[in-house]
Structure formats: structure tokens, C-alpha cells
């Protein structure tokens, strides 16, 4: 079931087009990575989807609500982690959350605040002013704020940007946990590893949407799969035998390895192995070369220029 549906969203700031004709959908329970370099329009898209700014053209649905309709109800069903945490630094962590919780109908404010301070490991520090918190703690508090009203959809705008590795890891763990609870998450990031670790699908954006797919599918779309055979006895006879196989489209030798492109990788691999063994090859390892997502990303960026 679709829970986010963006229809031709475009946002212009004067002359500058920040987001152009963006259409995509996110399924319930899915974690969508929204990947793009700085200035790609990630934050602008999230602001449009969460009804904070209005698009120049286009619209979006979040569940049953349209971004140009009853925004109040839309806001009841989303949680937003903004790019900068943004708290009242002079007030305590607990008071901050109580204030934000106070805008949602039908929630038991004290209980919710306690629950999420505990979830985020901040209960002990509930009385401290937010101004005394580290970046990582503020980020966890901001996550607590985004979750208070238990929204259907979570928008996370670069949740680990600017955090030290330890704090970033903690935040990623929390995101994984939220995802395992079945929440729909729209996560913007410029960190490829993060996108790959956390997201079911990745949308690559640079003003326009360049691609949307799972990391695996993106790999297959942009790079041909390569089988890698490591041999104990690399050399002529084996290579000759392999070259004769009809389904081998390309062959390279790299030290003790043969790197091959096969017409139908999953089907051809057993035959390939047979042929090599038949030619006296002693196979140490058969694997498939994984192209780092980075290469795909860079390729997309280059094509765009």
C-alpha cells in the first residue's frame, strides 16, 4: 500500500529550481533512502512532503491527506527530524518534548514523553537543559520528538550528518529498530553506506530524480554482473577452454583471477565451473564482483552533467 505519493513536485526559489518534477511513491513499512549531494534538493523535498513549504507546482499525498489540503491532519500523521535539531536550549529535555507533544490531539503527554526519553536513552538527563546536550544527544532527542505522536510516516533529514562515528552508529541502530517495527521512513542522506545499510530502496536525486531502486537492482542496471574465479593454477589451457564457451561475453585475467561477464550469470555459472574443472583448473573460489554503490552514484552524477 502506498503511503507517500509525490506527483510532479517542483520547487523554484526565484530563478533557481531546487526540485524539478519529482514523482515517486513509498510503500507502507518501507525505508526509502533519498540520496543526493549537498544542494540536491533533499531538504526542500522533505519540506514539501511534510507540508511545511508549498511546492511551486505539483502536490503529494501522505496517507489520506494531500499537502495542499487539511495540513493539520497531515501533520498529525507525520514525524519530522529536521536537518538541525532545533530545540529551546534553555528549557529541559522533558519540557521541550512536553511542549511539542502538546500540539497533538488525544495523547497522554507525560507518558509519551517518558516512553520516548527512555527509548532514546535520555531519561536520566530529562531535567537537563538541552543547551548542555552533545550533538548526538540532541539528535536522539529530536528523534524522540519526531516519534512522540507515533506517526505513520517519519521523515529523517540527514539523521547522522555532523555526528561522530559512535553517535552516528547509535542513530543508525535506532533507525534500524524503527524500521523493524514496520514504520515507513523517508531518509535523506548523502552517505552511500548509510543508504545501503538502512534502506530498502534508494532514490538518487539531483534537482531531478535520477533513479529509484534497491541497491542490488541499481548495481545490475548500471553495471554488468561479473563472475570472479580464483585459480590455484591460472594459465593458458583454462583460459582457452573458457573462451570457447558461448555464454562468456567478456573475459579478463587479473593475476590469479579470471573476471568474466556471462550472458545469464545464475544459469551459466555451474557450466562455467564444469568447463574450468574439465580443463584442469583448480578452483579456489567463485564469487561475484560487487560494484560499490559509489560507482553507480558517481556515474549518475556524471550522466546528469
Amino acid at each position: 500500500m502506498k503511503i507517500i505519493e509525490a506527483c510532479h513536485l517542483t520547487k523554484k526559489f526565484g530563478e533557481l529550481t531546487a526540485v524539478e518534477d519529482l514523482s515517486l511513491t513509498v510503500e507502507q513499512g518501507e525505508v526509502l533512502g533519498f540520496l543526493g549531494p549537498n544542494g540536491a534538493g533533499k531538504t526542500t523535498t522533505i519540506r514539501m512532503l511534510s507540508g511545511i513549504i508549498s511546492p511551486t507546482s505539483g502536490y503529494a499525498w501522505i496517507g489520506d491527506y494531500r499537502t495542499d489540503g487539511e495540513i493539520e491532519h497531515l501533520h498529525e500523521s507525520i514525524g519530522l527530524l529536521t536537518e538541525t535539531p532545533g530545540f529551546y536550549e534553555k528549557l529541559s529535555a522533558r519540557r521541550n518534548l512536553e511542549f511539542f507533544a502538546g500540539f497533538y490531539p488525544n495523547i497522554e503527554i507525560k507518558a509519551r514523553v517518558e516512553k520516548y526519553l527512555k527509548t532514546m536513552g535520555l531519561w536520566e538527563r530529562r531535567q537537563s537543559r538541552v543547551g548542555t546536550f552533545s550533538k548526538g544527544m540532541k539528535q536522539r532527542l529530536a528523534l524522540a520528538r519526531a516519534l512522540l505522536h507515533e506517526p505513520k510516516v517519519l521523515f529523517l533529514d540527514e539523521p547522522t550528518a555532523g555526528l561522530d562515528p559512535e553517535a552516528a552508529r547509535e542513530v543508525r541502530e535506532l533507525v534500524k529498530k524503527l524500521s523493524s517495527e514496520g514504520r515507513t521512513i523517508f531518509l535523506s542522506t548523502h552517505n552511500l553506506t548509510e543508504a545501503e545499510q538502512l534502506c530498502h530502496r534508494i532514490a538518487v536525486i539531483r534537482t531531478k530524480l535520477l533513479a529509484v531502486d534497491s541497491g542490488q537492482n541499481l548495481r545490475h542496471r548500471f553495471f554488468r554482473r561479473e563472475a570472479v574465479i580464483r585459480l590455484d593454477n591460472p594459465g593458458g589451457t583454462v583460459v582457452e577452454a573458457v573462451k570457447k564457451l558461448a555464454f562468456v561475453e567478456d573475459l579478463r585475467e587479473e593475476a590469479d583471477r579470471l573476471v568474466l561477464v556471462l550472458s545469464e550469470p545464475d544459469k551459466n555459472r555451474p557450466e562455467l565451473v564444469n568447463a574450468i574443472v574439465g580443463a584442469g583448473g583448480r578452483i579456489l573460489e567463485v564469487s561475484e564482483r560487487e560494484h560499490p554503490l559509489e560507482e553507480i552514484y558517481l556515474k549518475l552524477m556524471r550522466e546528469e552533467k
Binding site: 511545511i52 514525524g79 534553555k90 511539542f100 490531539p105
Partner: protein, 270 residues
């Protein structure tokens, strides 16, 4: 639900206001300084200027106006008439108190949220623009008016202690009540709204607070034209002016809500 959200904003603003020493000083010390200054002026004027001030041309018209508005004044001695004239200005001077408080509180409360980024998180909640503005308006206006009324009381008390109690009957007229309880609240709301407009456009609190000039100047102008006798507020004209300002409030509120477009307020902070 709206009421709950407005109160939520209001209480947060107050907590914020009263944990900030500058704001507390603004709301307590500044008004007292203004009142102290007024009392000093009245005392200086009455003690040193006395009868001779009556011969100054610019006061002649004002005195004539005063006498026609409050005929009993004519029976007083020259220096007493002058005192009544000075004391009658005080309610306009008192306007400075809510003006300064409202503008400062309004601009700080919005510019702060813009700069800290809390505004964006706030706009993602179900709060509506008018609820947010009204909550903030009340948070500024309520203490500002309370303080103003307390100051008015302090002023009257001080005047009585200085032995001029018998003149107060000529100062505390219907115009005085209209001014303090109708005109002042209306002007307070107006200056708050101007503060909101300023801060939804300005990049920092300082820029927004330059607006203070635009609300303080008209008040000073009002005092000048009254002291120099160009106009004198009768009950009717004071009432009309107050109603005019209430009308301006409604118009400016609409402008403020429009200018406080969620969009522009986030866009402008970059």
C-alpha cells in the same frame, strides 16, 4: 483544540521569557524607569518652571484646550494648571511601556525560533499559524498590559504622595480610562503585530527591533501635538482614535498572518 494549542504556546513563551534575565529586566525595570522618569519630569516642571512656563507660547494653546475639556482647571493657580497639563500627558507616555515590551518580546520570540531551527519543527506539528501568532501575542501582551496598569497605579500613588492628590480628579478623566484600557491594549497588539511582521522579514533580532522606532515615534509625535495644543483628546476623539487602532489591529493581523507564511519564515533564515 485551538485553545489548548494556544495555551501551550503561551505557557512555553512565559517559561522562556521568565528564565531569561534580560526579558525579566525588560518587563520590570524598564517600565519602572519610565515611570520614575515621568515623576521626575513632573516634579522638575512643577518646581522649577512654575508660573513662568505658562508664558511659553507653545503651552498656551494646550492650556486653552485643557481648560475647555476640563473647565474646573480654570479655577486653579497658574502652576497648578501647568501640573495638570503635565500629568495629563502621562497616559500617552505610558504607552511606551507596552510598546517596548511587545515589540521586544515579539521579535525575540520569533527570531529566536528561526535561528535555533525550532520553528521548523514547530511548523511540522498540527499548530496553525494564527494559533501560534495569537499564543505569542498574548504571551507578550498580557504581561505588558499588566505591567502598564501597575505602573499607572504606581504613578498615581506617587503623585498623591507628592501632595498633588487633589489634582488627580482633573487628570483621571474618561479620556484617561479610554486611553489606558482601550487605546493602550489596541496599540500593544498593533506593536506586537508589527514586531511579528518585522521578524518574519528580518534576519536577526536587531534588525527586527529597529521597528521599535516606527512604533515609538508616532507615540512621541502624539504627545508633542497634544502638548503643543494642536489637538486635544476629548472623550469622543480618544474613543474614535482607539476604535481606529482596533480596526488597524484587525487589518494588520491579516497582513501578519499572510507575511508569516510558513514558507518565507523558513526561507529567510538562510
Amino acid at each position: 483544540m485551538s485553545r489548548k494549542r494556544i495555551i501551550n504556546v503561551l505557557l512555553k513563551e512565559w517559561q522562556f521569557l521568565f528564565t531569561d534575565i534580560n526579558s525579566v529586566l525588560l518587563v520590570t525595570l524598564v517600565p519602572l524607569l519610565i515611570v520614575g522618569q515621568l515623576i521626575l519630569y513632573v516634579w522638575l516642571g512643577a518646581t522649577f518652571a512654575g508660573e513662568s512656563a505658562l508664558n511659553i507660547n507653545i503651552f498656551q494653546n494646550a492650556l486653552a484646550n485643557l481648560q475647555s475639556a476640563t473647565p474646573t482647571v480654570a479655577a486653579l493657580s497658574g502652576s497648578e494648571q501647568f501640573q495638570v497639563l503635565l500629568l495629563s500627558q502621562f497616559n500617552l507616555f505610558m504607552l511606551l511601556i507596552p510598546l517596548m515590551i511587545a515589540v521586544s518580546v515579539a521579535t525575540f520570540s520569533i527570531v529566536d525560533e528561526k535561528l535555533s531551527g525550532s520553528l521548523e519543527a514547530l511548523l511540522a506539528t498540527p499548530v496553525k499559524t494564527w494559533e501560534l501568532l495569537l499564543g505569542k501575542a498574548l504571551a507578550g501582551a498580557i504581561p505588558a498590559l499588566m505591567v502598564t496598569w501597575i505602573c499607572a497605579g504606581v504613578f498615581l500613588l506617587a503623585v498623591a504622595i507628592m501632595g498633588w492628590g487633589y489634582l488627580l480628579g482633573m487628570v483621571v478623566t474618561p479620556v484617561w480610562f479610554i486611553s489606558l484600557f482601550l487605546f493602550t491594549p489596541a496599540v500593544t497588539v498593533l506593536s506586537f503585530l508589527l514586531g511579528v511582521i518585522g521578524s518574519s522579514r528580518a534576519r536577526d533580532a536587531k534588525g527586527a527591533q529597529n521597528l521599535v522606532v516606527f512604533v515609538v515615534l508616532p507615540v512621541l509625535a502624539l504627545i508633542t501635538i497634544q502638548v503643543t495644543g494642536i489637538i486635544w483628546f476629548t472623550t469622543l476623539s480618544a474613543l474614535l482614535l482607539a476604535l481606529g487602532i482596533v480596526l488597524a489591529d484587525v487589518i494588520v493581523l491579516r497582513i501578519a498572518v499572510r507575511l508569516f507564511q510558513r514558507e518565507s519564515i523558513i526561507v529567510q533564515w538562510r
